[in-house]
Symmetry: D2
Subunit: 346 residues, 4 copies
Amino acid sequence: MIKAGIIGATGYAGQELVRLLLQHREAEIVWYGSRSYVDQKFSSVFGNVFQIVEDICKGDDLLALSEEADVIFTATPQGYLAGVLNEKILQNAKVIDLSADYRIKNVATYEKWYGIQHKSPQLIKEAVYGLCEINREQVKKARLIANPGCYPTCSTLSIYPLAKEGLIDMDTLIIDAKSGTSGAGRGTKVPNLYCEVNENIKAYGVSTHRHTPEIEEQLSYASGQNVVLNFTPHLIPMNRGILITAYAKYKEGTTPEQIRKAYEDAYREEYFVRVLEEGVCPETKWVEGSNFVDVNVKVDERTGRVIMMGAMDNITKGAAGQAVQNMNLMFGLDEAEGLRFVPLVP
Amino acid sequence: MIKAGIIGATGYAGQELVRLLLQHREAEIVWYGSRSYVDQKFSSVFGNVFQIVEDICKGDDLLALSEEADVIFTATPQGYLAGVLNEKILQNAKVIDLSADYRIKNVATYEKWYGIQHKSPQLIKEAVYGLCEINREQVKKARLIANPGCYPTCSTLSIYPLAKEGLIDMDTLIIDAKSGTSGAGRGTKVPNLYCEVNENIKAYGVSTHRHTPEIEEQLSYASGQNVVLNFTPHLIPMNRGILITAYAKYKEGTTPEQIRKAYEDAYREEYFVRVLEEGVCPETKWVEGSNFVDVNVKVDERTGRVIMMGAMDNITKGAAGQAVQNMNLMFGLDEAEGLRFVPLVP
Amino acid sequence: MIKAGIIGATGYAGQELVRLLLQHREAEIVWYGSRSYVDQKFSSVFGNVFQIVEDICKGDDLLALSEEADVIFTATPQGYLAGVLNEKILQNAKVIDLSADYRIKNVATYEKWYGIQHKSPQLIKEAVYGLCEINREQVKKARLIANPGCYPTCSTLSIYPLAKEGLIDMDTLIIDAKSGTSGAGRGTKVPNLYCEVNENIKAYGVSTHRHTPEIEEQLSYASGQNVVLNFTPHLIPMNRGILITAYAKYKEGTTPEQIRKAYEDAYREEYFVRVLEEGVCPETKWVEGSNFVDVNVKVDERTGRVIMMGAMDNITKGAAGQAVQNMNLMFGLDEAEGLRFVPLVP
Amino acid sequence: MIKAGIIGATGYAGQELVRLLLQHREAEIVWYGSRSYVDQKFSSVFGNVFQIVEDICKGDDLLALSEEADVIFTATPQGYLAGVLNEKILQNAKVIDLSADYRIKNVATYEKWYGIQHKSPQLIKEAVYGLCEINREQVKKARLIANPGCYPTCSTLSIYPLAKEGLIDMDTLIIDAKSGTSGAGRGTKVPNLYCEVNENIKAYGVSTHRHTPEIEEQLSYASGQNVVLNFTPHLIPMNRGILITAYAKYKEGTTPEQIRKAYEDAYREEYFVRVLEEGVCPETKWVEGSNFVDVNVKVDERTGRVIMMGAMDNITKGAAGQAVQNMNLMFGLDEAEGLRFVPLVP
């Protein structure tokens, strides 16, 4: 059994980790870390695990945890892990970080977009960007995983096939993203209140959202060129789910068949990425509670553009599910172990 | 492997059966019955199982199905199964009926509340009311299960301990129930449209809802007296979940300790019924997608009443989950096999 | 023009007052009081009035306000007004209090249920309980109005005809109430977050909710006897709306016609209370954004009970709308002035 | 008093016309046309107007109606009005058509995108596209108004200032739109059911939506060049509201100041179009139930693009409100008469 510890277990991503690991046949949770709820029963915070979890929330002593655990998941505020992680901890346990601290290879870019000084830049190079479908082999050997952001996961997987095959003009790329409200976290602020989100839609972080450079970096690797794009997230009145609608000019002479084939080739062997049948638009409902990403592409010959679409559960594949997928790879397990949920409908 | 067939697989209860059976280690689905979608891919109706289910929807030839299956689930309109079920089918396969056809022992009562003539009254006596927590031993030996209604499941389990122990005056019993909209089914009518349900709440079927006599019958068995009660359901703008709030006078001299103990005694050994800690109110969110029923009771000494509360997922424990629980018992499996989901939050 | 000031203008009830008074032909707002947003533009808090309201939020200096205003609305935390109100202020301006401070005539009852010492008990007697349909004449002459609570308004109006006519046994009265989330206010706490409320339903304050003694007092006046009842509120995933479902035994010999007639007689002349046609259940959607209360009653001869139902917008008739209705009466205007909105659908 | 008749009064746009006209000081409704509900009380279909409207639904005899009414609103399926409208009717009454029949000047374009043969192409030329902010003077003199589509209204107004001033490259224009579910109408089909829409988001009609040529035509007029663009609508789990997020390259050398000034100049005198303060993103909540369109623009110098945003209530400004605005202009009234609602929050 893999001994797992979680720092930040009482956030939405943290409790999703709890849900997934409790149902995982090869893992057990040995540490429910939550600074806000220290000494309280975890099940008094999340009643869904009443009579399932008897544990009391602990603090965030990462070193102590690393001595008890084989793997540590950190679902913590930006900058936290970078401030405390060190070689000693990494020798004790593998670390899967759900924050952004080690996702961006260029420290200056991180510091500019996040407005934080990076406290352990020496570890960035070692960290593997844990998008399993693309970096599978590196993940298997990693000690430190930078678990991708929710928007970057869905965006990258939706666009990757055409970026990689060079079928689109990367300079024309625009990503319009929509997310359920769990993505905003469990912090108490007015804009997250029920009556403020319900019956409402708005864009936010327009041209300044921190996931922008992360997406740009990944698509730069895929396309072999420096990508600069527009990314606009929107807040949607629903709990879970991300939908990506991305636009780009396809290169002259490209046929619809080539475009479709790029998706099918890229994901033929991937369990978690489902290329939908032609003409079917991804819907977040069809992936709720699962680790699937549903993608599809529409060619608009009238405008010379492709519309790339992807739907995903933001706290499963976009956070905790992907983290468990990484754990599976790092410990030599079947990649889908504990993640073969049929999505919940309705 | 248990071979399972489903008639009515494309309704909400039917597709929940699909979800649960696909994740069940001892069962496989051999027949996706759906008159409306015959010859169409099941996954074209419910995209959540795209690339998981390749089957085509079949019709409702129950006899043919009984020759292929070990167990048949019928999630069909009232009166359908009573019209086609016969001894031959029951010799071929066990039947778990999610409709109301065999729930009520008194034919006249059924015919009055449902306004349908019962076509196979000779089978009613044999049918076992599949509320496992109460009728476990009979379920194990049954060929034909009347799977309880959603409201009756939650109502009965919420009230049962006090009815059985004789601690409340059954003549004062009032049940105020609230259900998510999946309970209204997938039929296309104006009151089920998004814009009619959203941002709205209303009572319906006041004093005439068909689940009333079913609840009365079960609580009559529990209390040993003829129960007549008020039952008022309400439609709530959410997908899943039922909440029961029930009121009754407790008998003079009854102490809060006796009341609490009745619940603890009744459900100490039950995995799926969770008696919450004192003062905690059940919430549907904590049971979503699971087979749990969370119950609790509050004693109001000011008024001499108890307020009994229960929360449940109407299409899991209230329909498909309970049906699988029954199947497990009928086939000698662990009762919770395939049903140990951690509820989905948020 | 009536000069109106609002203390607590940036809560949900406060901003509804703003919405209503802006559309009122005989009133103008001279003071937008909000301690949390002092010196900020009101329209930066509530974008709906961008380019409509240019005012800056002010503090809560009630005396200064009373010198500028003809009427003061206080949508403030319990205990606030009782702590600052005095004769001087009341000589300057009429006061309509949306908090509970002057609703309950018995100080001890107030102090017990609210857990607060009442700082100006000498003013309680003078305060008029502003349920216009019942206390119209006293309202017209009042200086100080205790604007009724949301649940008490809907509960009282739904039950009043039968209580007054003595057609029900008041000892059997049970009120099961459901409210949209705006009733919980705009405070930032975890249970009010979108992801906690959405797709969820729960009871709260079971047998301890502070509106209980208020309802009991009003129904005691109506029935001429001391009423003790059960009141259970539930939180519903919607913004606006309250639904009341109340149960009581009707007295032996009472006919359905007498019961219906009691409602028709009580509300024949009332513009804001609509007695629905027989068999039609009130729905909150049909009153959204308006000052209407839709009521109806169902007689269940099987159980000897009536089911009384009422639907209302909790922040219009349940708070700000009723406050404006009171203002209209106090200033000799048409009671419905500025309140003749057609409810918003869908 | 203007005598108004409505054909299609029981759809969502139709009943919004009812709501608005009932509150209009210079108009009265003389005909509630609804083929589906002929001879039923209008208030039995829409309970919000119980005791306000006593009328019975009538049929769709346009000629008879034209003899009773000064203005006819048609909220009817595509092709209906084109099939029945004639000179005689237009001599009797002004017509404001909420369908698409007369919006597109090029018959071939209409017939291609709508798949319908146009039955009265001779009237297209005369019809005025009723986007008041742009075509005010023609509207005043019109007999026949093509009331703009919901998406085209919000899209055109959000983009118009930059298109008109020639500050963006129209070939790079992409519109990503999001709409509440009332836009899908009140028809009974599975995709409109509560449980299918709730907790879900999807794109639909990708590159084929019928509002595309309408938007292209209007922006072609504005920019003086032939515009071909991508338009992608999405279905959002909320009742009301449209949000537009549009992207385009701005022309080299254009400054943020020029861009902002274009908006301010275009809408300085417009009551219903509110240019938000810099950095504030439009939210549908702030315009709910009103005729406002809130717009703003963000300049992204990193990518050389502008992000243009607009929020609007799809059934008010996007349908019925704009129709009333047109009526006001056609009858020489204040353009905002009956439309000065403060948006409903929350």
